[in-house]
Symmetry: C2
Subunit: 322 residues, 2 copies
């Protein structure tokens, strides 16, 4: 049945087909003691502590089937969670995946989703160890990622101190600009669209920041200013962002000539790039691939020096504030 | 705002309100090093291995808002996952919760859901450590449970050997009978309806079975025969179920006079009770609260002696097979 649907193969058939694609059983990763197929998975947690996070992606809210392939959605769902794990200074070990989908979902779609999850997880050495498939009208993909701290303390949002430098690793604004171009129609800039459909968090940079002694860290999912707001609030500090620190981004400039707005607004308030923002003590050497964008001071709140941003990020229940 | 909705308070407001109810931050459980509010949670995994499972509940598929309160749904979502953890012989330590819901969801509903999750988790000493809230048309609750093996080997589905006794801990058939009564209408038997809306897995019995040396174990979520089928297949054995071993259940008998069917069919094929079925070696002492219902033999498949069952369980994508 090349065009088989979830209804044709049934819940257990679908699980079997997807599990075959994941190759997440024991033997494929030294961390996995029990993979898919039992009541629960068993994963090594050598550190004695496990890092865990969950994210839910909903059709027509977080992705559109006319824009994203199933493979893209798998990559993005895995990336969003593995970036959260990396932002704690941990290495992802495993994913659990819940898939709610209509009975007429092509099995091939679920297999491509699994391929995307598997390939993104492989970037950090993680594998899919379990999941659940159920019926729903719209597709909902919920992913939980587990990670290991390797003996390091977790990097919290609450550790920033006055005097720390604020640094960013990874691209900012590309996802939001790609999204704006998709909404606008016409011929979009492919690199920006790809950044939206399939973000690529610089996982290694997050680990390097943790090893360099970062005092706080976030993945940039809500937008840089919003996520720095989380750090400022949790740490009880003020953060100055220096707009002159951001290099002019030629692609964002090109996009803005089509969709309007200013590149700096995309950089400062665009979400879902899953770059990393961290604070590092004055003396620490900065890892390769990070740029300094600001400074931590006593006080509260986040201020942008040299620019007046036009929004502060995204809120799912209010439909955005940009 | 006593009647505030998710839209009124926004994503971050909703999370804050729910987190306040969960009281799952550090200090409330010695296992939780970092609770809700950071990029990810950090939970102790003293065993060096972590048990993990995920289940997704969808409105109008797994629950109906006219039957279940938000509190019931929270209890049930937690129970389904914690039963899977217990079926591995592990103790639940923490839950992560994804909630997809319409913007007009009353905040009070989300708070009651959180209360239910918290109270069920508390039965095993677990707490909610993180989650995600997003928009969707229908309510989807995805829960991931983590657990600790306390130095014991995990109890897999694949360890049953010929000669082992098949034992059950917990009630069977009540959930399916309660569901049938709700569907039928009229005045239902409250205990059966409660068993469906808010199953109560006998977590301690699962742990006792693991400690008694159970060679395989499952929680009964698909129906006893279906779940024994999983064990028979994974272990490469045949299982005989002896129908005479099941005591006559007066409440099931009463229900069948209303909804039809035979009590034994509910016992053998009714799902979602989250009882535990296990195989134990011939010599092992049976823990309190378990009854012997069959025997493991060489061969394959599951046979019922003394009864011809009318179905073998539930499949979400095919809409059931009973």
């Amino acid at each position: 049945m090349p065009d088989a649907t979830a209804r044709d193969v049934g819940e257990f058939g679908l699980i079997a087909r997807v599990v075959d694609r994941l190759a997440g059983g024991p033997g494929t990763s030294p961390s996995v003691l029990v993979g898919p197929g039992d009541d629960a998975a068993v994963v090594l947690a050598p550190d004695g502590r496990v890092v865990a996070t969950t994210d839910v992606l909903v059709e027509d809210v977080h992705f559109r089937l006319d824009w994203s392939t199933a493979y893209d959605i798998g990559r993005k769902a895995a990336a969003a969670n593995l970036a959260d794990v990396a932002a704690m200074g941990a290495t992802g070990t495993s994913l659990l995946v819940g898939l709610a989908a209509p009975p007429d979902l092509p099995v091939a779609w679920a297999e491509s989703l699994a391929d995307g999850l598997r390939d993104e997880a492989a970037l950090v050495g993680a594998v899919v160890v379990g999941g659940d498939t159920v019926t729903s009208e719209r597709i909902v993909v919920s992913v939980t990622a587990l990670g290991d701290l390797g003996g390091r303390p977790p990097v919290l949002r609450s550790g920033a101190s006055p005097g720390d430098r604020v640094v960013v690793g990874g691209r900012l604004g590309w996802s939001a600009a790609g999204y704006a171009m998709l909404l606008k129609g016409g011929v979009p800039i492919e690199a920006l669209v790809q950044a939206h459909l399939r973000p690529s968090p610089p996982y290694a940079v997050a680990l390097a920041l943790a090893e360099a002694g970062a005092t706080s860290m976030c993945d940039v999912s809500d937008g840089l200013l919003a996520d720095l707001g989380h750090i400022a609030r949790a740490s009880g500090v003020h953060i100055d962002v220096e707009s002159r620190r951001f290099e002019r981004d030629a692609l964002l400039g090109k996009a803005c000539r089509v969709v309007g707005g200013h590149p700096l607004d995309f950089v400062l308030t665009g979400g879902e790039d899953h770059a990393f923002v961290a604070t590092v003590p004055p003396g620490a050497a900065l890892p390769e691939g990070v740029v300094r964008v600001g400074i931590v001071k006593a006080g509260s709140g986040v201020r942008v020096i040299g620019w007046k941003p036009s929004g502060v990020g995204w809120d799912h229940f209010r439909g955005g504030s940009r």
